[in-house]
Symmetry: C2
Subunit: 328 residues, 2 copies
């Protein structure tokens, strides 16, 4: 069976072991093989098999099925390890999916279960930490050792690198989206109030505009377009999001003083309409603090898969996460 051209694309992971990677989201799951040249093969997006309390098992079955499909489709490309990312609270060190309320699991030993099904070592992590690892090793965060990575989409998730290493804290670290910016402010999906995610995520921007106008909008991009066209309510919603982001980043800066804050996800596609006012507002809030670079993510929509592949390769090379590899 020949490999169809659309199943091959360059990736930044470089030369290394052959691995298979999975990035499981709340709606879709993505998968790909990475060959010894770092070429991405068989990129596939399928629905996440939602089965209530059996979702974890269904996801693991799907992972095994896709791996078997790849074995038939790419018989010469045999993965020596796998990378698996899931959302929610994830304990990388213990290999456990601690909690994913919208996927119905709690304390699932994903790493062990995936290794039983696939017969190869499995690197298991959180979806945004995986994407962050890709940005840290190969993307926008590569020049820095102390970095915060924020992915702003439906929600806001984050990953923190301190002194060149991901800071995990049992999976609880990096939750900048669930940091309070307005005490007793709008309700967050997690049950908290005034969290950054409830004000400044792309999802919240669309929702808040809808709440104030009764108008349906096609996401945060639509709100920004309306703001740029002079819609005052859209302008206020966008500005409040920028102010909330700047406030949260200023708090992060006071505590951690990172070299850079990398912003990815759908909202980052707003480009200068996001970054220019955000940088100005952050500058207004800071005094003696270190100024971090605010930079857009570079790796793109496959960052999760690429991070999962990097972690999987680490397992083959030395059984533990490596320092940043040299990309080919």
């Amino acid at each position: 069976m020949s490999i169809r051209p659309e199943h091959r694309q360059a990736s930044p992971v470089g030369v290394g072991e052959t691995v298979v990677a999975f990035d499981v989201g709340g709606t879709d799951m993505k998968s790909a093989l990475f060959d010894t040249h770092g070429t991405l093969l068989g990129l596939r997006r399928t629905s996440t098999p939602l089965s209530g309390e059996h979702t974890a098992e269904a996801v693991l079955d799907r992972v095994a099925e896709i791996t078997a499909d790849y074995a038939r489709e790419f018989p010469g490309v045999v993965p020596r390890a796998a990378g698996l990312l899931v959302p929610g609270l994830v304990d990388d060190d213990r290999g456990i999916g601690v909690l994913a309320s919208n996927l119905g699991w709690r304390d699932v030993p994903f790493k062990r279960l995936a290794e039983e099904r696939l017969g190869v070592p499995v690197a298991f992590s959180h979806d945004v930490r995986g994407a962050g690892e890709a940005e840290f090793r190969l993307g926008a965060a590569r020049p820095f050792t102390d970095v915060a990575i924020m992915v702003i989409g439906t929600g806001i998730a984050g990953a923190i690198f301190v002194d060149g290493h991901p800071h995990l804290a049992g999976g609880f670290a990096g939750e900048i989206g669930h940091s309070i910016v307005i005490p007793d402010g709008p309700l967050c999906a997690c049950g908290g109030r005034g969290h950054l995610e409830a004000i400044a995520s792309a999802g919240a921007i669309a929702r808040r505009y809808n709440e104030r106008t009764g108008l349906a909008v096609d996401g945060s991009r639509d709100v920004l377009a309306r703001a740029q066209a002079g819609d005052e309510i859209a302008g206020a919603v966008w500005r409040e999001a920028i102010e909330a982001l700047a406030l949260s980043i200023s708090q992060l800066v006071a505590l951690l003083a990172p070299d850079a804050v990398v912003i990815g996800g759908g909202l980052a596609q707003a480009g200068p309409a996001l970054f220019d006012p955000l940088i100005a507002e952050l500058e207004r809030l800071l005094t003696f603090h270190r100024r971090p670079r605010l930079v857009p993510a570079q790796i793109g929509e496959n960052a999760g898969l690429i991070g999962a592949a990097l972690r999987a390769r680490d397992l083959v090379v030395n059984g533990a996460p490596a320092d940043r590899p040299v990309a080919s």
Copy 2:
């Protein structure tokens, strides 16, 4: 010359090399020798020699004078290294006092200058990171690897340990006192607005009560006593401080998820009147987040000297910071 009893006291540093330690503050500087048994000798508090733009030089001269005094007073106790802590922005790695606005220095290479004067290796750090190191190795933070330490007095300073190591970021990390809790809130000494220090430091509590009542008070302890006696304004000032502390800690928890937050300084002496409502308010603010222990500092007022002594001993043992030693 015999050693007078009041010049000897037990310390928790344990057995090790003989070192001399200095903890320079904005008003006073403290010093002591630590002998091979870990006994603290010659504890001395003198005024910090404030000389405008020459203060750094005057401090270094004083450090040399006191060391010479100790050599006369304790001739058998010869330090093999020194520890020196100063306030302000401090770059431990480069050995530089970056900025101390109230002490008039900027970019002073304290480590090199002190080594020239004393003729022994000098461990140079920030006063609160030094005290934090004592709490981390020997005190309240000892059981934990991820810890934030806050010292709440005239101001609020902090130190952060991530995965068992102090996080420095060139001296800019740990500034929880200069994290915004009330946007465009009260002016902070650093020029910012609504910083935690401007609302919840012991100094701010006394000042805010004075501003609202015109009454002079004897520090935050007096405000607390008035609050406990039913003074509503004192109660409001105290409560606002607790709420600001809980909010800032909740933000720290979302980002770093530390195992514990250690609180020292004058305000911590309020005991349960501080910790009980603070723990309750923090619990109200958190949702899925990890719950840190909130614990009072244990080492006491000599924590800075003890941390400086530990760092100095590290230099003799291996030329670099050691892991936590076993106290005798």
